[in-house]
C-alpha cells in the first residue's frame, strides 16, 4: 500500500512540476507578446535610417560614377573639375563616413535586439550554469528598453559580482518582470535604479523605482498567482508569482519594500553557489 501511495505522489508531483513549467513558459510568451509591439518600434527606428541611408548612398554612388566615367570621356581636366564641383564632391566625401558609421550603428542595434530576444526565448535551457548576472541584466535591458525609455531613466549601480550558479534565462525573466512593473508604476517620467552587490556568499540584486508605490493591503498579495492591479489585458497576474518561484528554485530570497507615493524596491538575494544537496537529479 505505501508503495503505490508513493508512486502516485511521485506521479502527481511530476505532473505538478510539468504544469509549473508550462505556466512559466506561457507567462514568458505572454510577456514577450506584450513586448513585441515595443520591439517592432525599437527595430523600425534603426531599420528606418539605415534604409534611408542606403537610398542616399545610391545617389552618392551615381554621382561618383558620373565623375569616374567622365575620366575617359572628358576633354580636359577642367571638365572633370567642373563635374566634381557639380556633384558636391567634398560634401559626399565627408558625409560618406558619417553615413556608414551611423548605418553600422543601426545594424548593430538591430543585431543586439534580436540576440536579446533569442536569449529570452530559450525553452530547454534548464540547467544551472555559472553565468554573469550583469550580462543577463544588459540583455534584459535591451529587450525592455522600449518599455523603459519613455518612462524612466535607468541607473546602473553595479558592484563587483562573481559569476553565479543559476539558470540565467530564468533570472532574465525575473529582472524583466521587475523592470516592466517598475515602468508601469511610474506616472510621467521617473527613475529606475538597478543595484548589484556581493554579500559574502550571496549576491544582492535590487530594482528600485520612484513610482507610485504599492498600497499596504496589496503588499502581502503581490506574489499570489493571478493577483494584479493592472487593467484587464495589461498584466497576467503571474509575473511576480513566477518570479518568486524562480528565485525560490535558485535557493534565493525575494522581498519588497514600498512606500506609496515614493516608490518600490524589490530585493533579491541569490547564493553564488547552489547547495550540492539541492542539485537537480
Amino acid at each position: 500500500m505505501p508503495h503505490t501511495d508513493m508512486s502516485e505522489r511521485e506521479q502527481l508531483s511530476a505532473r505538478l512540476e510539468q504544469a509549473n513549467r508550462q505556466l512559466l513558459q506561457s507567462e514568458k510568451m505572454a510577456a514577450i507578446g506584450q513586448l513585441a509591439a515595443g520591439v517592432a518600434h525599437e527595430i523600425n527606428n534603426p531599420v528606418g535610417y539605415v534604409y534611408s541611408n542606403l537610398q542616399s548612398l545610391e545617389t552618392y554612388l551615381g554621382d561618383l560614377f558620373r565623375l569616374t566615367d567622365a575620366i575617359d570621356s572628358a576633354d580636359s581636366v577642367a571638365d572633370l573639375q567642373s563635374i566634381k564641383r557639380n556633384i558636391d564632391y567634398d560634401f559626399i566625401r565627408t558625409d560618406l563616413g558619417d553615413l556608414l558609421a551611423e548605418s553600422r550603428e543601426g545594424i548593430e542595434r538591430v543585431r543586439k535586439i534580436i540576440a536579446a530576444m533569442k536569449d529570452f526565448s530559450y525553452v530547454e535551457d534548464e540547467a544551472f550554469k555559472l553565468a554573469n548576472l550583469h550580462q543577463g541584466i544588459e540583455t534584459t535591458l535591451n529587450v525592455v528598453n522600449n518599455e523603459l525609455k519613455y518612462k524612466a531613466e535607468v541607473v546602473r549601480d553595479f558592484g563587483d559580482l562573481p559569476d553565479i550558479e543559476c539558470i540565467l534565462s530564468q533570472l532574465n525573466q525575473v529582472v524583466m518582470n521587475l523592470l516592466v512593473n517598475a515602468a508601469h508604476a511610474i506616472e510621467g517620467f521617473g527613475r529606475i535604479t538597478i543595484r548589484t552587490r556581493q554579500d559574502n556568499d550571496q549576491v544582492i540584486l535590487e530594482v528600485e523605482d520612484n513610482g507610485k508605490g504599492i498600497a499596504e493591503e496589496h503588499l502581502t498579495r503581490i506574489f499570489e498567482p493571478f493577483f494584479t492591479t493592472k487593467p484587464v489585458g495589461k498584466g497576467t497576474g503571474l509575473g511576480l508569482s513566477l518570479s518568486f518561484n524562480i528565485i525560490e528554485k535558485h535557493n534565493g530570497r525575494m522581498d519588497v519594500h514600498s512606500t506609496p507615493g515614493q516608490g518600490t524596491c524589490f530585493r533579491i538575494s541569490l547564493p553564488v553557489r547552489q547547495p550540492a544537496t539541492e542539485d537537480k537529479p
Binding site: N45, P46, G48, Y49, Y51, N53, Q55, E102, G106, F189
Partner: protein, 177 residues
C-alpha cells in the same frame, strides 16, 4: 527659402532625413529635443513640421498640437515607427496632421509627401494673401462709394456727367466758372 522642421529623439534619423532631402534645396532644421524644437518656432516660420510619434519627453501628437497653436500655417506630418490605429486616430483628430508616414520610409514617398505639404502651405499662404488683397480693395471701393454719396448729397447731380451726342461733356451754364 522653404524651411522644414524635423523632430525625432534619435539623431541618426535626423541625419538620414537631412541627407535624403538635401538635393531638394530646402532649409532643414533637426531637433532631438522637443523643448528646443518648440523654441525655434518663435524664430522661424516653417512650411512643414515632421515629428516622430513616440519620444521620451512628449509624444509627437502633443508636440504638433503645440506647434499648431504657435504656427497654424505650418503643415504637420507624423513619421512613426508605430503604426497602430490609436496613434493614427490621435494624430488625425488631435494634431490634425496632413500625412501619417511610417518608418522605414521610402525616398519617393517622403519627398512626395513633403512636396505636397509645401504646395498646400504655399496655396494657403497665397489664399490668405489674396483674401487680404480683396479685403483691402473692398475697403477702398467702399470709401470711394461713400465719398460719392456724400458729394451727391451736397451737390445733387455732381456725380453724373452730361454728354452731348458726339460725346463732349456739357457744362451747366448756371454753374459758376
Amino acid at each position: 527659402m522653404i524651411k522644414i522642421q524635423l523632430v525625432d529623439d534619435e539623431a541618426n534619423i535626423l541625419s538620414a532625413l537631412k541627407r535624403l532631402l538635401r538635393p531638394q534645396g530646402w532649409e532643414i532644421h533637426g531637433f532631438t529635443d522637443v523643448e528646443e524644437a518648440l523654441g525655434s518656432l518663435r524664430e522661424h516660420n516653417y512650411a512643414v513640421i515632421i515629428s516622430d510619434y513616440q519620444m521620451p519627453t512628449a509624444d509627437g501628437v502633443t508636440y504638433l498640437q503645440f506647434a499648431k497653436q504657435r504656427q497654424p500655417d505650418a503643415v504637420r506630418l507624423v513619421l512613426s515607427a508605430h503604426g497602430d490605429r490609436n496613434s493614427m486616430i490621435k494624430a488625425i483628430n488631435q494634431a490634425e496632421v496632413y500625412r501619417f508616414l511610417s518608418k522605414p520610409w521610402d525616398e519617393h514617398e517622403i519627398v512626395a509627401a513633403i512636396k505636397s505639404a509645401i504646395d498646400l502651405h504655399l496655396l494657403r499662404a497665397e489664399n490668405r494673401h489674396l483674401l487680404k488683397q480683396v479685403q483691402h480693395q473692398q475697403t477702398l471701393i467702399r470709401a470711394r462709394e461713400q465719398e460719392l454719396l456724400r458729394l451727391e448729397q451736397e451737390n445733387p447731380g455732381i456725380t453724373r456727367v452730361m454728354r452731348d451726342d458726339d460725346g463732349s461733356v456739357l457744362l451747366d451754364d448756371d454753374e459758376p466758372r
